[in-house]
Every structure is written in structure tokens, then in C-alpha cells.
Amino acid sequence: MLEIITSSISFFTLLSFFGVGAVGSLLVHKNNKNANAWSSFFAIVGSFWGVFFSIIMILRKKSLLFDLKTSIFSLFNISFHIDLLSSFFIFVISLLALFCSIYGIGYIRHYYKKYDIGVLGFFYNLFIGSLFLVVTSSNALFFLIFWEIMSIASYFLVVYDSNDESNVKAGLLYLVMTYIGTSFIILSFLLLYKYIGSFDFLVIKDSIALVPAVIKNIVFISAFIGFGLKAGIIPLHIWLPAAHPAAPSHVSALMSGVMIKTGIYMMIRLFLDILQPIPLWWGLVVLVVGSISALLGVLYALTEHDIKRLLAYHSIENIGIILLGLGSALTFYSLNLSALALLGLVAALFHTINHAIFKALLFLSAGSVINETHTRNMEEYGGLIKYMPQTALFFLVGSIAISALPPFNGFFSEWLTYQALFQGIAQMHFWTQWIFILAAGSLAFTGGLALACFVKAFGATFLARPRSKEVTHAKESALSMRLGMGSLAVLALLFGVFSGYIISLLKTIGQGLSVFKDSASAVDVSSAQIINVSNGFSVISGFGIFTLLVVITFLVIFIFKKIINNKQKECISNTWDCGTDLSPRAEITATGFSRSIVQIFSGLLKPTIQHHIEYYDDENRYLPKSRTVTLNIGNMYHTYFYQPLHLVINKLSTRARDIQNGNIDLYISYIFIALMLALLVIL
């Protein structure tokens, strides 16, 4: 039985679920309910099968290699290679797709009669299916095709809510940026093909020695730009905060949770698996880019008051944290410290799955809030905890997990990332050590700022009094939506409490890569689930922390509620109002909350403030009629990166116009000169 589950047939069954789901929902698109039921059913069953398939693959440490010889050209063989790393990513994708699809059943209902549900179902299933293909494909050509399907399917999901003009604009930006990224990816694959003569990843890996070091460096840079663009590293991230909020929330959850991780997957695949051995500076570049993305991502998140854009910026931050783990793995491996490199990789993988879980949870609960209040602006929320208590609890769990507070999952993966960086600080010298110090410092400040940001997000959304009428009409979301969010919230806790077990599994996944085949690991998990890094440098236990916190909290509540005088009264009264009527305007807003941090980082964020006052009498300006204050954040990457780039491209195009000036005589003379030169060369 297990043999069949871990066979290629099983994998194609998995794909066929999404195929049937996609095509079927187009066929039944006339009826909204049927289309929803059809697409959700196949997505749920398919992802359930994916979870099952990948768990068994990982537990049995099995890898699959198979191809379809569809054409006479050997170049076009579709080949798949599902090793432990691919299985891990299949697990992440299907786990998230499962809960997002469950959530979708209820969430899609508000699109009824507005849009075609069949189309949504088609692209949704196509999107998930293409994600599976991307992480399993073993041929660069077909990889690119699947990569494009994924991009296009997600593009149509981004512009699905097309009545909103800004969504269409965001979609266009996404499409343009994606194509820029893809062109860099194509460049790196073509360079490899030039020297090796094959698009097959396994062949490339075996004959990587044929590629000269300079070309390998170019491949690294263009692949890092291409895949980094998909992952959303700064400054290539501009599409991310535009596109993720535009998509339907369960799709945003998938995009933020898993689609950007396909970039990380390919970086691990290329840099740690295929292009070995690598020079030291690759890892250091990844570390520096990771530090910048983490710190700037969270700073930009702090300036946002659009709840989904805020979450999108946090995706950039967390990609930065994952890159810190990956970058330290690359650095250690190029210095032959494979035990520490494995620690870095485990940290990166652990944060990948943790971020997928809590970010999906946050996007889904943000989706429920938007569904009820019809706005993404946090300044119009407030007090939602009384109207949507369960959604509030789920969002709180997500906030705690993403702020890396114990005993939730985010803490343990950030802890591991810290350990990798600490080991770098302890063992490296000179500027390598300084880069590790920079990375650890950026991670420390990122943690603190993320905490501030989620106090702001949760406080402004759910606490205090409603700041708009919409809030008072809000109701708790549908059962299927709560089920999807609730399961993810439980997973966020379980992945923290049982982090020891998860880490030992991730270690086997890391050892599945050929570079770590027989390597020892700097992270060990004892039989009592105690995580031990570098022979006792640091020791921690998820279960121990959880038990201690829960037991002592209950003890405190018991002692103070029951033992010390339980007869006193609690009376409910108004908040102290300083003698004026309390209105929602007395509360702090999301913008106000983060204003002091923005002010402190004004060198980076370049905040601007504009006053506009309209007077009753413009001649003698004594009595103002209305005042408007506009607060804005300068786009640093726009001013210092995209605008100069734009200028350079413009200048180059003007120069090109000198040659191509539309004069036909000149063109004929070009042909004549070219002919002459050609003749000269031949003769």
C-alpha cells in the first residue's frame, strides 16, 4: 500500500485532482454554488492527498525520479525528481492549500453574482497544481513553463476583483516585474546550457565542473535576481505589497505563504545542491540582502495602515529572515563547516514552514475582517474583538507567532536562525564576522519592530471602540472560514510545542541533499525533545517552555482569583474621559501609533507632512474652514534605485535613436557597410 502511495502514479493522481478541479469548475461556471463546491472539493481532496503523500515520502526518506518521454527530442523530456526537499515543499504547499481551500468555501460566497466563480476555481486549482509542478520539475525548460503557468494563474487571481481599478494596476505591475525576473532566470539556465548542453538538473549537477568560475558567478547573480524577485527581496519587492493585497484573501495567503517560497526553494536547489562548490561571497551576499530585506520590510510595514499591505511587507521581512538562515548555510558550507551549514539550512526550512502557517493565518483572518467591514484601511476598524471574537483570537495567535514570542512556532525558527548567526560570530574572523554581527543585529531589531507592528495591527483593528459604522454591523465569519483559521492557529502552537520533533525531521530533509549526505549536524534533538545546538552552546525545549508557561499562568490565576480574597466586586464603568465625551477620535490610530518609530527612522523612511488649510476668506486668512494633513512616506528604493535605472534606460534609448533615426538612406548605407565588412572578413 505504502509503495503505491509513494509512486509516480500517486503524484499524477495528485495533479489530476487539481486538473479536474480546474477544468470542471469552468464547465459548471453557470451556477455559482456548483462552481464553488466543485473547485473547493477538488482542491481540498487534492491538497489532503498532497499532505498524505509528502508525509509518507518524508517519513520513508524516499525519493522519486521519473520522466515522460513524450517527444522524439531528448531535450523535451518532462522529468520529475521528488527528493526530500521537494517533498518538504509539497508538504508546505498542500498543507496551506488544504486550509485555504476550506476557508475559501465560505469566503468565496461574497463574490456570488459579482464575478464568475468558475473562473476563480479554474485559476485557483491551476495555481496550486503549478506550484506542485514547480517544486518537482527536474528539467529547466519545463520548470520555466510551470513557473510561467504559476505566474500567469496568480496574475489572473490578482486581477480577479477587477471592478477595483487599483487591482488591475497592481496586476500589471506584478506581470511586468515577473517577466523581468523570468528573463534573468532564463539567462542563468541558458548560460548553464551553453557549457553543459543539457537542461536536466541532474545532468547539470553532475557536470557542473565544466562551467568556469566567472560564468558560475554570473549564473548566481542572475538567478539570485530572478528568484529573489519572486521571493520579494528588497529592492525587487515593489510588486509584492501591490499584488498580494489585491488578490482574494485565501489566494493572498497562498501567494504569501507558498508562492514566494518557490523562489527560496530554487535558491536552495541551485546554490546548495546544483552549483556546488560555491565561493564564500555568495553566502555573504545572501546574508547582506537578507538583513536589509528583514529590517526594511518591517519598517515599511510599520508605516502601513492598509492591513493587507502591512502583512505583505511582513512577508518581505520574513523572506529576509529565511535568507539569513540560507545565507549562513551557504557561507558555512563554502568554508567546509558542513555541520553548521546544516544548522543554517534547518533554520531556513523551519522558518519557511512556520512563516507559511502564521502568514496564511493572518491573511485569512484579515480577509474575514475585510469581508465584514468592506475596507482594508485599519483606521476604520477598532473594537472588532467584540463583534468577531474568534477571528480576533486567531489574529492574535498569528500576531504572537509572527512576533516570535514563545511558545509559538515563530520563536523556535528565529531561535535557530539566531543560533546559526551566533555560531558565525563566534567562529568567523574579520569582515565575515562583521557581516554576521550585522545580520544578527538586524534580526534583533527586526524582532523588536515586528512586535511593535503587531501591537499596532492587533490594537488598531480589534481593540478599543469602533471607528466607523461598518464595524458595528460586523458579524463573526462563516463556519468554514473559522475552521480554516482555527486549524492554522492550532498548527502554529503545535509546531512550536513539538519543535524538537519537527527539527529532527527537517534535519533528515537537509541530509537528503547530496552536500549533507553524511554530514554531522550542529543541531541535535534528544529523546526528551530538547533541542541542543553545537554541543550545548544553547539548549531549549518547546514542550518544556509550553508546560512551564501554562502551568504557572494557571497557578497565578488560581491563586489570585480564588485564594486571595475572591469576594471583591468588579464593576463595569466608562473609561476615564478627562471630563469630555469619549469619542473614537480620542483613541490612538494606527498611523499615530507608529509615528514615533517612523520619526526615529526618518533618515530611511523620509516621512513627509503636508498641511492644507482652506479659509473662509482667502484675503485675510483668519478663519480656517477645513484643515487637511497628509502624511506620506518617501519611496527610498524608488528614488535611489528605480528612478536612476529608468533614467539610464531612457538615455540609452535616446542614444539608440541616433543610429535608428528613420532615414531610409542611412539604413541602406548600414546594409552596404555591413556587406562590405562581411566581404572583407570572408576574403
Partner: protein, 308 residues
């Protein structure tokens, strides 16, 4: 024996933390030529508050109601995990430097949420200021503990407290720099001068007091008590990680009594320093605080660079 150690570790911090507050207040009063209240006054205040009726805002949710318990419990867990005067306990998984930092962040997180929960303007700006300071203090906090961890070769607090006893002259300078950084963080995290004024009710200077303004009765008692626990936790970290005399790793009644004696003297000295500092300097303007926190971070970065 193990259970005995656990219980002492658990109850020592909450039992003695109000005393520290009392001592600091007494010294400050003496310096201001006042008689000052008895050093046991904080205990009486807590006892009085624990028996009073409560008023809870109608806007408050369960976050506000549960926060005092969560914060107090967190300080107990952290208090249990830091070295005091008892020997190392085998298999203490919570004595990790990062766990201490992030566990204290739980209390900051919930305190800031509780401040926003009642919808008063005071709570909101208090939370905003507190999170600003906490966010910027985190780098210095982690790095000062990391410096000591790198010197000791372990991130377990008990090992650090034990190993730096045999501190060599080479790690002397990094340790001093790290202590400088740590002391700034101590003042920031425990809301003392120049970051916050623990005795103020003036809105311009309030941070911690603004967040707990709506608390009353039992909840106010827990909040105040947790704040004093946090102060004692930070002082014991400073006393034991950076000045580790008297802490003996061997189990024995004599060593424990001696350890306790040294520990109490060190804590008393910390109280004196904090009180002297509060009597001699003014509160900083809010936007000058980041500079101070950055100084703490840079001290530690330099310290790490100096470790060889």
C-alpha cells in the same frame, strides 16, 4: 533538593521585588531631604490593592482582563530561569538568553495591548511609546547577553554566571562594555530614568504608568508587582552575569548562604546606583532615547569585536 531549589527560584523574585522598590524609594527620599515611607510600604500597597474592588472599562475586552495574570506569570517564569544565588539546576531548558528576551517581550506585548484596549488616549500613547522603546532596546539586550555568552561559550545563563568567575584579562574589556550596554537596557526595560519616570502622572512623561492607568484593584496590584519583579530580574541578571562573585556551583548549605549574602549585597548596590541616578539626572526628551539605546547596541558590537 531539586524541588526545594525550584520553589526557592520561583518565589524569591516576587517575595523580594517590592522590597527593592521600597529601598530605591527610601534612598531617593533621603537624597531629597525627605523622611520617606518605610521600605516595606510597597508590600502594604500591594496588600491593600489586592483587597479593593475593581472598576473595569466598558470598552475593555478579555485582553485587558487577562493581561495582568499573563504578565505576572511571565515574570515568574523568567524569574525561575535566571541565576540568583542557587547552584545550577540540571536540565533547565528555559535558562537560554533568547528565551529570557522573548519571554519578557510577551509581557511587553500584552501590556501594550491592554493599554490600547480601553480606548483612552493615555493608554494608546503609552503603548506607542513603550513599543518604540522596547523595539529599539531589543538589539542592545540580546547583544549584551550574547557578548557574555560568547565569552563563556554557552548561552545558558547559569553557565555564564558560573564560568565568568575565572574571567581572564582579555575578556575584561568586552565584559565592561557589555555591562555598560546592559545597564542602559536595564533602565529602559524597567521604565526608570532617563527613559520613564516611575512616579509620574503627567501625560508628557508617562510611558509605563499611562498603559496601566485604567487598571485598578487586584489587576493594578499585579501590574505593579510584575513591574517590580522585572526590575529585580534585570538587577539579578546584571549582578550575576557581569559580577559573578559568590555564586558557587556546588550544592551545599554553606555555599548557598554565602551566595545569598553576596547576592543581596550586589542587589542592594544596584538599588543604590539606580536611586542615585534617578536623583541626579533628568528624564530625557523622548526622541533622544533612541540615541541612548543605539549607544548600548554599539557598545556591545564593539565588545563582540574585541572578544578573541
Amino acid at each position: 533538593m531539586l524541588v526545594f531549589i525550584w520553589i526557592i527560584q520561583l518565589i524569591f523574585i516576587p517575595f523580594f521585588s517590592p522590597l527593592c522598590i521600597g529601598i530605591i524609594r527610601k534612598i531617593k527620599a533621603k537624597l531629597q531631604n525627605r523622611q520617606g515611607a518605610n521600605i516595606f510600604q510597597p508590600y502594604r500597597d500591594l496588600w491593600k490593592l489586592l483587597h479593593k474592588d475593581e472598576v473595569i472599562s466598558s470598552d475593555a475586552s478579555w485582553i485587558f482582563k487577562f493581561t495582568p495574570y499573563i504578565i505576572f506569570a511571565v515574570t515568574l517564569v523568567v524569574g525561575l530561569s535566571v541565576p540568583l544565588f542557587l547552584p545550577r539546576i540540571v536540565g533547565f531548558v528555559t535558562s537560554d538568553i533568547l528565551f529570557i528576551v522573548y519571554a519578557l517581550a510577551i509581557s511587553t506585548f500584552f501590556m501594550a495591548l491592554a493599554g490600547m484596549d480601553t480606548g483612552s488616549a493615555f493608554g494608546g500613547f503609552g503603548s506607542s511609546r513603550e513599543m518604540t522603546i522596547a523595539a529599539l532596546a531589543e538589539g542592545g539586550f540580546i547583544f549584551s547577553l550574547l557578548t557574555m555568552a560568547l565569552i563563556a561559550g554557552s548561552s545558558n545563563l547559569f553557565t555564564i554566571a558560573g564560568l565568568t568567575r575565572s574571567i581572564d584579562s582579555q575578556s575584561f574589556l568586552p565584559a565592561i562594555l557589555a555591562f555598560g550596554g546592559f545597564f542602559i537596557i536595564l533602565l529602559a526595560e524597567t521604565s526608570r530614568f532617563p527613559f520613564d519616570n516611575p512616579a509620574t502622572h503627567l501625560e508628557l512623561t508617562m510611558v509605563h504608568e499611562a498603559m496601566i492607568l485604567e487598571c485598578s484593584g487586584k489587576r493594578l496590584a499585579l501590574m505593579e508587582w510584575a513591574a517590580s519583579n522585572k526590575l529585580l530580574i534585570f538587577m539579578s541578571l546584571g549582578a550575576n552575569l557581569f559580577f559573578p562573585f559568590g555564586l558557587d556551583l556546588n550544592v551545599g548549605l554553606g555555599t548557598i548562604v554565602l551566595g545569598m549574602f553576596y547576592f543581596l549585597i550586589k542587589i542592594f548596590l544596584f538599588c543604590v546606583v539606580v536611586a542615585l541616578l534617578e536623583s541626579s539626572i533628568a528624564k530625557f526628551r523622548f526622541f533622544r532615547l533612541p540615541d541612548l539605546l543605539l549607544v548600548s547596541f554599539i557598545f556591545n558590537v564593539v565588545a563582540i569585536g574585541l572578544i578573541k
